[in-house]
Structure formats: structure tokens, C-alpha cells
């Protein structure tokens, strides 16, 4: 039996049952695949606070599969290698639900090789909190006018009396001219897509504290009536992430992006959610 960092990988899996922490697995209902190169494959299913582990050749149907060589796996278990570092350096690969992979750390107690019951390290106290403070965000007249416009299914832009620049959502001032914007123009509703942020990584929404559904698409749309960099920032229909094309202006080279139109929410309250998202308009 080969060993790295004094860790026998088989023993790590054999002791999973005894190291299982139901409270750590609370709310977890998934099948984890482990593919330790030249060592073997294991399938771990966790649900309702219970687990089942079996050695297998076929890891299809797993929600997430970790592929890693024996040495790196042993190094991570021994705490000598940092999992995120190994992931970043592609020494460990994660296929499937990337966020689910982060949960495995909580499901088992730390593996200690037999006969090496190392004297327990000092317990380092930590305190987990979600800090939440309610806010009264004022719209002010400018943002208020714009958001009320969305309620009536109109997208307004504010115009600078100096350079004519349109801004939507609006700002009180035109930054380069340093003078107050003073007139409104209706733009869109449809337009040409300029930017797509195809988001795989799930980050929390500070307005709610919850984690966003992924993948999602944040987009920049050059709405009809706008020019240059007067681009409107919103979301794309998540089903159409792979069917859209970004427009661009690169010097004199111009590429036209996919035509998009807003999908209005039924119940509009004067907020960004009055537009559910933009969808293809071709």
C-alpha cells in the first residue's frame, strides 16, 4: 500500500463512516464521485443525514466528481497542501457542481492516520455570523423618475445639456462636464447586446444575503436611441446564455450583437426587477 505524507488513501475512505458528521451533512442531498488516479474510484451518496460509500468503476450520475492524483489527495488530507491551491493549479479537477464541492469539508471530522494520534492542536475559536442591518435607500428625484418609468414599461435616460450624453440608470450630474443633467429621453426598449458576463461563480447577493443561482448572464445592452458607451446594464434570460452574440466596436471594426428586448414583470413596483430580464428579439 503506497503512502504519501504518512496517509494511506484506502484508510481515508474506510474511516469515512466513523468520521461522518450528520450535523455537517444537514440539508445535503447529493452524490460525490472521487477518482484518485492509479488508486481507484469511490462513490459517496449523502442524504437525510446518512451516507453510503462504495468502490466503483463508473462515476456517472454523480453531482460532483473530484479527479486528483494520490499524492495531492494525501497532501490535502494531511493539511500539508491547500485544496484551493491544488484546484487553481489544476493538480485537482472538480467537474459538476463546483459549489457543492466546498461542502465536503464539513461532512467529515479531520482524518488522523492510525497510531499518529497527534496531541490535539490548540482549539482556535471562531465566530460565524451573518450581519444584517435594514436600510431605507432613498431614490432621490432622478433615480425615482427612472424607476417609476420602469413601472410604466418605459426606459428613461437622462441627458446632459452640455455634451448630450445619455445615462441610464441616470446620474445627477454629467461627470466629464460637471454640470447637472436636466432633460429626459425615452430609449429602447429593445437594443443590441454589447457585453455578456457569463457567470458560473455563485456569489452572495448582499441585498438578500442569499447566494445567486448560477449560471446567470449580466449583460450590457446598447438600447435604441443610445450611442458609443451609453450601455444599459441588466440580466439575460438564463436559458439563452449560449445563443447570443456580443456586439463590439474595435476601432473601425463594428460587429452587431444580438437584438434583445426586455421581458416586463407582471407586478412592477418601480425597481430593477420590473424588468425580469432581456431575451432575444430576432
Amino acid at each position: 500500500m503506497s503512502e504519501y505524507y504518512g496517509i494511506d488513501v484506502d484508510d481515508v475512505f474506510n474511516t469515512m463512516a466513523s468520521r461522518f458528521r450528520p450535523e455537517g451533512a444537514e440539508g445535503v442531498d447529493a452524490v460525490f464521485g472521487y477518482d484518485i488516479t492509479e488508486k481507484g474510484k469511490w462513490k459517496l451518496s449523502v442524504g437525510q443525514g446518512r451516507m453510503a460509500l462504495d468502490i466503483t468503476e463508473d462515476l456517472s450520475g454523480c453531482d460532483v466528481v473530484v479527479r486528483v492524483d494520490e499524492q495531492t489527495f494525501a497532501g490535502i488530507i494531511a493539511g500539508k497542501l491547500d485544496a484551493m491551491a491544488a484546484l487553481s493549479a489544476n493538480k485537482m479537477k472538480v467537474e459538476g457542481d463546483f459549489n457543492l464541492f466546498a461542502v465536503t469539508g464539513k461532512i467529515f471530522t479531520k482524518y488522523v492516520p492510525p497510531g499518529q494520534e497527534v496531541e490535539p492542536e490548540q482549539e482556535l475559536v471562531m465566530l460565524k455570523r451573518t450581519i444584517s442591518v435594514n436600510q431605507r435607500f432613498a431614490t432621490g428625484p432622478i433615480m425615482g423618475t427612472f424607476l417609476q418609468g420602469l413601472k410604466e414599461k418605459t426606459i428613461l435616460a437622462i441627458k446632459c445639456p452640455g455634451c448630450g450624453r445619455l445615462q441610464s440608470p441616470p446620474r445627477e450630474i454629467c461627470a466629464p462636464c460637471r454640470i447637472r443633467n436636466d432633460s429626459w429621453v425615452e430609449i429602447g426598449p429593445a437594443g443590441e447586446m454589447r457585453m455578456l458576463e457569463y457567470c458560473y461563480y455563485a456569489s452572495p447577493d448582499p441585498l438578500t444575503g442569499e447566494t445567486r443561482e448560477t449560471p446567470y448572464g449580466a449583460i450590457g445592452v446598447l438600447l435604441d436611441g443610445c450611442k458609443d458607451n451609453e450601455v444599459f446594464w441588466h440580466l439575460l434570460n438564463p436559458q439563452q446564455l449560449n445563443d447570443v452574440r456580443m456586439g463590439m466596436v474595435m476601432g473601425d471594426k463594428v460587429v452587431h450583437g444580438t437584438r434583445l428586448r426586455p421581458v416586463w414583470s407582471a407586478n412592477r413596483t418601480g425597481s430593477i426587477n420590473d424588468i425580469k430580464y432581456f431575451e432575444i428579439d430576432e
Binding site: I131, L207, G209
Partner: protein, 166 residues
């Protein structure tokens, strides 16, 4: 569009909410686990300034010497040298109002520490009273490993007279 036409202004209810994970560090962890497991309050001593600090810290703020290993066991009782009575409720408060916050110089420590005082009416409490730590049932992982301090009756008076609920 008139400059101060606020007819379209309104207020959106929202919040700021994010997850946080704080670490007490080695010195802090030793202090907190000792409170939890041994019901003992520890301070650290700076020999240069000949002062015992509680809560403990790695460095003496005045002379910058490293005092992380100079542990000193303190008494669980001490003297109340200042207090205030928190009367208006708010979400960040650990107790129902009114509750008393006191500055307590523990026997053996030089720097008074803030904590909650219970078991006495706000209008009866006075500086100079002797107080004693009452440890929490289950662990909080913070200074609330000590639930509160109760008044120690001056000798001769039975403690039941003073502490109404413990």
C-alpha cells in the same frame, strides 16, 4: 424638470446582509476556552509596565512588548467601578432592556473589563459593590461564556436578599 421637484422621490426598504467569520486568535482562544472549560478568567501581565490586562492580548499597547505568554489567573470576583443602564431595546443587545453594563476590576487585574450585571435593580446598584462571575450554561464562544456578574452581598447579609433571580 425643475431642480427641486421631489414628486418622483421615494424610499426603498432594503438591507445590507453578508456572512462573516471572526477568529479570536491564539491568545483570545486560550482565554475563551479556559472560561468555557475551567470557569476561570485569565489575564496577561506586562512586566515592563507591571500591569495585568484583561481581556488578554498579544502586545502591550503602551510599551509594545510581547506579553502573549505571561498568563495570570484572576479571581472570578472584583469591584464595580462604573456602570450604565441600557434602557432602549435594539437588535444587537444580548439581553432584554433595561439591563446593566458594568466596568469591573477583577481582583488581580489592573484594567477593568465591561460586562453585564444582573440580580439587582438599576436604582439600587452603586459603584464600589463587589461582584462575582456567573458562568453560562451552554457555550457562546465569546465573552458571554460568562453569562453575567452578580452582586456579592457584603458579609453578614444573606445573598438571597440581593439576587432576585439567578
Amino acid at each position: 424638470m425643475q431642480k427641486d421637484d421631489f414628486s418622483k422621490s421615494y424610499v426603498v426598504e432594503g438591507k445590507l446582509a453578508l456572512p462573516y467569520t471572526y477568529f479570536a486568535g491564539r491568545v483570545g482562544s486560550r482565554f475563551l476556552t479556559t472560561l468555557r472549560d475551567h470557569k476561570t478568567i485569565m489575564g496577561v501581565r506586562c512586566d515592563t509596565c507591571s500591569k495585568v490586562f484583561v481581556p488578554p492580548r498579544q502586545t502591550c499597547e503602551r510599551c509594545f512588548s510581547d506579553i502573549r505568554d505571561n498568563w495570570v489567573t484572576l479571581e472570578n470576583k472584583g469591584e464595580l467601578i462604573n456602570f450604565t443602564v441600557v434602557r432602549e431595546a435594539d437588535k444587537h443587545l444580548p439581553r432584554k432592556t433595561p439591563y446593566i453594563l458594568g466596568l469591573i476590576r477583577l481582583d488581580g487585574a489592573d484594567t477593568p473589563m465591561v460586562h453585564i450585571i444582573e440580580g439587582i435593580e438599576p436604582d439600587k446598584i452603586a459603584e464600589g459593590m463587589r461582584v462575582r462571575a456567573v458562568f453560562a450554561g451552554e457555550s457562546e464562544g465569546t465573552i458571554l461564556e460568562i453569562a453575567h456578574f452578580e452582586i456579592v452581598p457584603p458579609c453578614g447579609m444573606r445573598s438571597r436578599q440581593i439576587s432576585t433571580n439567578s
